[in-house]
Subunit: 305 residues, 2 copies
DNA sequence: CGTTCTTATACATAAGTTATACAACTATTA
DNA sequence: TAATAGTTGTATAACTTATGTATAAGAACG
């Protein structure tokens, strides 16, 4: 019961980012906090005290003054911080609020602040439906980052860091769906030479939301490997994301290999901007070309039958 | 009863990293520990005593003071450190139980069952302390997969799929640490040409557990990009993981570029199997070479000062 | 006999305490 | 608008406590 984890003021200072001066001043001047004391009169802070200080810190960052919030209970502080973030969303509905998140994400990327980027994504995902977050935040975000990169405003580093965080976010989204027994398997990957993963993961999310069991193999795999996985898992569909339309005749060959593989009994779906360059050859070979999440949904539904 | 081995204070000092002065002072001043004695009054420490000292040491690193924790029972210390008591009591069973998990993971990989692989990792991580999961499960797992691949038992697909899941798991572990404000920044990446990410992420976990703020940029980045990020984030350390020792003189050049960059004011730490191939040149250039998680911890601690 | 351990004492530094002061703002008042 | 008063973060002084480290003198070990 008594989780006696008590910390001295220095540790609290390090954990909250508040100077020891401030912490003492807030106690003396505003009774903002009342730590217990050792026999020798030293302050001892428990976890709750630390959390309260973090709330106070956060509220001040949001523009409140210490004198106006010092008297609030910790619960009231929580509400104060909640109300602020909710009201930001409540005021403007879906569209504009996600624009806010988008700007927040871009700012986080610019500052290479993966922590903030992640928290923006998470708060967005509780304030809007999954599909909206994908369409109106994740996809625009990655496009914007690409644009900024081309225009020289962002560097490779920015794109790299964002990719890591978004990938992780998307994988967690996919995992959050897992429950259905005997769901049809959807093998997800990108063909040899295609290193961008976000599109593939977006497809995996759609698949999961449609009741499939996505198995993400990672990017940049040879046809034989993808075919092997599809066979081993007895997959009903294979989804491949293609970003670069550059003239790579091997790409067609790779896709064709998978489709022609006798042991593979799965529909092959191609997604991504890169697919339209060769669209004829792909459809000819028997692949499904898909440009939007909505199309992907219906295609998956059709294959499932 | 138990064939308990008893150790003199010097051995205990070496095992725990605490000076003999400290160990005696903690006993005399705070009754933090009560070793048995020989007939001639010399201190004798059993395994449990050593473990207790290690817990105390760990708790102090986390910001507690010796006076406030010396009176806790060993179980309370475990709770304080959030160490699962089941596994701690199990003691030697640790090994075999993680072997179970390891086999489960390998089976999951063999069947390309990412879902099962993930759930194995998650169950392991609640039944053993983080560090043990990393040392005894994650690392051996990736090694085994590499071995199986070389021997032809696994294919690229297996390795790819496992990498995705493990990566995701490790990123979530890193994220679970975040609390300290103004923590020193640790930029984590792999140099140009190095595509394996697991080692880098393992380093990020260690960094996070030591109170740093790891910023993972993703793999395969040119020196300029890494230097840019380090500068922008005012990083205190840069950690680069190198797997392939193959003769790539550009690698040394890349690392040297980062170290020599004037605007970067960070210690450069190299990890991974690949580093020993060129160890002389790297140390010459001013990098810290690190081979084990323990070494990484102490190196980070030194740089932080 | 040199090494390691013991207790007791001493010391240095880090870190904590209160009280007071101060500078930079903000808000109020004349 | 300028003067004034309050707010708030930061700094210093003087002192105490906490904690790591060192020394001295003797005892035990191998």
């Amino acid at each position: 019961m008594k989780n006696r984890s008590l910390y001295p003021i220095k540790t609290v200072s390090e954990k909250t980012g508040l100077s020891t001066f401030i912490i003492r001043a807030w106690e003396n001047r505003y009774k903002a906090i009342s730590p217990s004391r050792t026999d020798s009169n030293r302050r001892l802070y428990c976890e709750k005290d630390i959390q309260r200080l973090q709330y106070l810190h956060e509220a001040i960052k949001q523009g409140h003054t210490i004198s106006s919030i010092a008297g609030l209970t910790t619960v009231q502080l929580q509400e104060l911080l909640q109300i602020n973030s909710v009201s930001a969303e409540a005021g403007f509905q879906d569209m504009s609020s996600l624009t806010e998140f988008l700007n927040g994400c871009l700012e986080a990327v610019e500052n290479l602040d993966n922590q903030k980027l992640e928290s923006e994504l998470l708060s967005a995902s509780v304030s809007a439906p999954q599909q909206v977050v994908l369409d109106k935040l994740i996809i625009p975000l990655m496009i914007k980052i690409g644009d900024y990169w081309k225009s020289g405003r962002f560097r490779v580093t920015h794109e790299h860091l964002a990719t890591q965080v978004v990938k992780n976010y998307l994988m967690n989204v996919v995992n959050s769906y897992r429950q259905i027994e005997n769901a049809p398997v959807l093998v997800v990957s990108t063909p040899n030479g295609q290193k961008h993963e976000i599109g593939a993961l977006l497809g995996a999310v759609v698949g999961a939301s449609e009741g499939w069991k996505p198995v993400y193999l990672g990017p940049d795999l040879p046809a034989e490997e993808i075919a092997f996985a599809a066979q081993k898992l007895n997959a009903k569909a294979i989804m491949l994301n293609v970003v670069y339309p550059e003239d790579d005749p091997r790409l067609i060959e790779e896709v064709r290999k998978i489709i022609k593989c006798d042991s593979v009994n799965a529909g092959v779906i191609l997604t991504g901007k890169g697919i339209n360059f060769y669209s004829d050859k792909f459809t000819e070979a028997g692949a499904f070309l898909v440009n939007t999440p909505a199309e992907l949904r219906t295609t998956l539904e059709n294959i499932r039958k």
